[in-house]
Symmetry: C2
C-alpha cells in the first residue's frame, strides 16, 4: 500500500457532516435540483424550493465554501492587508476595525483573511498572492492614499474592493469614509465661537488622501468664521506625539502664536500637551486644542483631549457589508457612503484666557 510521507492520523471524511448528496437522497431529489433550489435558480418550482430549504434547515446542511469555490471561484472570504510599522496611530484601532469586519462578515457566512505588509509594494504583492490563490474574493483597503497602487492593481485585475477613505480618482471605486473635512471645519467654528482668532492647524501625513481633505476643511472653517488664513499657522506631517510636540513648539515660537490648535491626528495632539507642559502653559486655558480620531489615550491626559471620535468598529462593519455587496455584483457607484465623526468635548478647548499678544509676551519672559 502506498502511503504519504506525512502521515495524517486524523480521519479525512469527518463523520457528522451532511453533504448535498445526503440531503438530496433524504429529500428524494437529485443533487442538481437541490443545488439549484438553494442557489435561487428560476427553473425550480416554489414548492420544491421551499421543501429543500426546510430540509437543509432541519438536517443542518451547510455547503463547504471551498467545495463550492472549486467551481464558482468564490471562497466567501474577505481580504484585509494591513500595513504595519506604517503609522503608529493605526494600531489601537485595529482590534475594533477587525471586530466590525468580522461581525458583519460572519453574519453573512463569510470569513476574513488577514495578511500584513511592511510597505505599499509589499501590500500589492501580498494581495496578488491572495487573489492568485483565491484566498479572498475581494479586499478592504484601509488608509487610502491619494494615488494608490493597490487600487491600480485591483482595478486592472477586476478584483472587487472597497476603500476606507476616498481617493483622487473615484473611477470604479466603492468606499466608506468619515468626513474628516467636516470635523475640521466644525472644530475651527467651535473655537472661533469661543473667541479664538488665531487658530492653527497641524496636519497628518501628506501622502494620505485624508490630509488633503482635512486641510480643506480647516480652510473652509476659517472662511465660514470670517477669519483670515495665515500660512504660518498651517503645519503638517505630524503623525505621532513627538511630531506633534515639535510642531507645537514651532507654533509657540511665532511672533504671533496661536491661542488654539486644530490637529488632524490625536496622537500628534498629545504632543501639544508635552510642549505646553515644557513652557508652563495650561491646555484648555492658555492654549486650546481640538483633534481628530478619538484614541483612548486622549481620555487619560489632563484635561482630557476634546476630539472628533471615529467609530472604527462601525466603519469596519459597514465596509464589510459594502464589500460583500460589491462582490455579489453591485456597481461600485452605488456603494459609496460617508459618516460624520462625533465630537467629544472633554475640556481641552475653552475660551482664550490670553490674547495672542499676551501669550507671546508670557512665552518671551519665561524663556530660559
Amino acid at each position: 500500500m502506498t502511503k504519504a510521507i506525512h502521515d495524517h492520523e486524523e480521519g479525512r471524511a469527518q463523520p457528522g457532516r451532511v453533504t448535498i448528496t445526503a440531503l438530496s437522497a433524504a429529500l428524494g431529489l437529485s443533487k442538481s435540483t437541490v443545488s439549484r433550489a438553494l442557489n435561487g435558480y428560476p427553473d425550480i418550482s416554489e414548492r420544491t424550493r421551499l421543501r429543500v430549504r426546510r430540509g437543509a434547515e432541519t438536517m443542518g446542511y451547510r455547503p463547504l465554501s471551498h467545495a463550492q469555490a472549486i467551481r464558482t471561484g468564490r471562497v466567501r472570504a474577505l481580504g484585509l492587508v494591513v500595513q504595519i510599522g506604517d503609522h503608529d496611530a493605526q494600531r489601537p484601532f485595529l482590534a475594533d476595525f477587525l471586530a466590525g469586519i468580522s461581525v458583519a462578515a460572519s453574519a453573512e457566512g463569510w470569513t476574513l483573511t488577514v495578511a500584513t505588509a511592511d510597505s505599499e509594494a509589499d501590500a500589492v504583492r501580498t494581495m496578488e498572492q491572495l487573489v492568485e490563490d483565491r484566498k479572498a474574493d475581494g479586499f478592504i483597503l484601509p488608509r487610502t492614499l491619494s494615488h494608490d497602487a493597490r487600487v491600480a492593481l485591483l482595478r486592472a485585475r477586476g478584483v472587487p474592493f472597497v476603500m476606507f477613505g476616498r481617493t483622487a480618482d473615484p473611477e470604479g471605486c466603492a468606499w466608506f469614509d468619515i468626513l474628516g473635512e467636516a470635523a475640521m471645519r466644525d472644530a475651527v467654528l467651535h473655537l472661533a465661537s469661543l473667541g479664538h482668532r488665531r487658530i492653527a492647524f497641524v496636519n497628518g501625513g501628506t501622502a494620505y488622501n485624508y490630509s488633503r481633505l482635512r486641510l480643506q476643511g480647516y480652510r473652509d472653517g476659517l472662511d465660514a468664521a470670517g477669519l483670515p488664513e495665515d500660512p504660518e499657522l498651517i503645519r503638517g506631517g505630524a503623525l505621532n506625539t513627538d511630531d506633534g510636540a515639535r510642531e507645537t513648539r514651532a507654533l509657540l515660537a511665532l511672533p504671533q502664536p496661536p491661542t488654539a490648535v486644530v490637529f488632524a491626528v490625536d496622537h500628534a495632539a498629545l504632543g501639544l500637551y508635552r510642549a505646553c507642559a515644557e513652557r508652563g502653559l495650561q491646555v484648555g486655558r492658555d492654549v486650546s486644542v481640538i483633534s481628530y480620531d478619538g484614541v483612548p489615550d486622549g481620555a487619560h491626559v489632563q484635561p482630557p483631549l476634546s476630539s472628533f471620535t471615529v467609530d472604527t468598529r462601525a466603519a469596519g462593519h459597514r465596509l464589510a457589508e459594502l464589500l460583500i455587496d460589491r462582490i455579489r455584483g453591485a456597481a461600485p457607484e452605488t456603494l459609496r457612503e460617508t459618516a460624520r465623526a462625533a465630537f467629544a468635548d472633554r475640556g481641552s478647548a475653552g475660551p482664550p484666557r490670553l490674547s495672542s499678544e499676551a501669550l507671546s509676551k508670557r512665552l518671551a519672559t519665561e524663556t530660559t
Copy 2:
C-alpha cells in the same frame, strides 16, 4: 437557458492559471503521478519526482488549496480568534502579533483567518464554526486562561492548536510563552540590589494563567533577595491605567509604604505615574517602578517606564511555525518553547531616596 438570479459577470475559469492537468500533460505524465510526486509519495522514482518539481517550478504551478481541501480536509489556513473589549492592553500588540503570524504563515504558503469574539463562550462558538466550515486547520490561542474552555473544545474535537501562554493542565498542549515569572523575579532582584527593601507587587487579571506565574516570580525574587513577604504589599486585578492608579494610592496609604513597585502590566504601571503626580512624588526617585510588556506608551512618560519588553511579533512568528508543525502531525509535547522578556532600563527605577518611613512621613504632612 437557465441562469442564476445573481449574475456573476466575471469569468469563472480564470485564464492564466496552470492546473495539475495542464502540468501533467506538458510533462507527458498522468495527473496522479504528478500529484504523488509533488506530495512526496514513496512510489515515485527520484528522477520523475525531480522532473515534476522542476516542471511545476518553471510553469508556475501552484495548487489551489481549496481544491486540495475538498479531498484532504486541509485548507492551509491558521485560525486566530481575538477577544476584544477584553483587556485594553492587548490592542497595541495586535498589529505586531498579526504581522509575526502572517509572515511565518505565508513563508510556508499558509494564510491566516481572523475572527473576533466578545466573550470566551463566543470565542468557542466562533472556533466551532470555523472548524465546522473548515476555514482553519488549527488555532493560535492568545491569552490563555488557567482553565480554558477553548482548550477543552479543541482537545475534544481533536483540532490542532498552540497557546500563547501556558495552562494548568498541559495534556496535549503545545505552546510558546514568555517567562513572565523570570522577569518579575529579576525585577525584584534589580530593585533589591538598588537598595529597596519594601517592594510591592501589583498583579494583572487573576483569571489569566500568567498572573499566577508572575506572582510566583515576584515571591521567588523576594526569596532570592532575602526579603520578607508582606501580604499588604501584594495587590492585583490591575489591567489598565485607572486600576494601576487606584492600587498605587492604596499602597501609598499604607503605614509602611513601598519604595518600589513591580507591576505585571505596563498599562497599570502608567497609573502609578498618575498617583505619584497627585501626591507630588517623583517616579524613579521617590518611588521606583519596574513593569512588564514594553508598550510604546511607556516610552512617552517622564521618566520613561523601565519594563521587561515582550517581542510580540517574534512570538506570533514562532507560534505560527509551531502550529503548522502541529497540524502536520508533530506531537504537542515536542512543541513547547519559552523565551525571556528583555529588560529595558529607562530610568523609572533608581536607588531609594527616601526610606519607607521617610516616605510615609512626607505623605502624611502633604495630605490635604
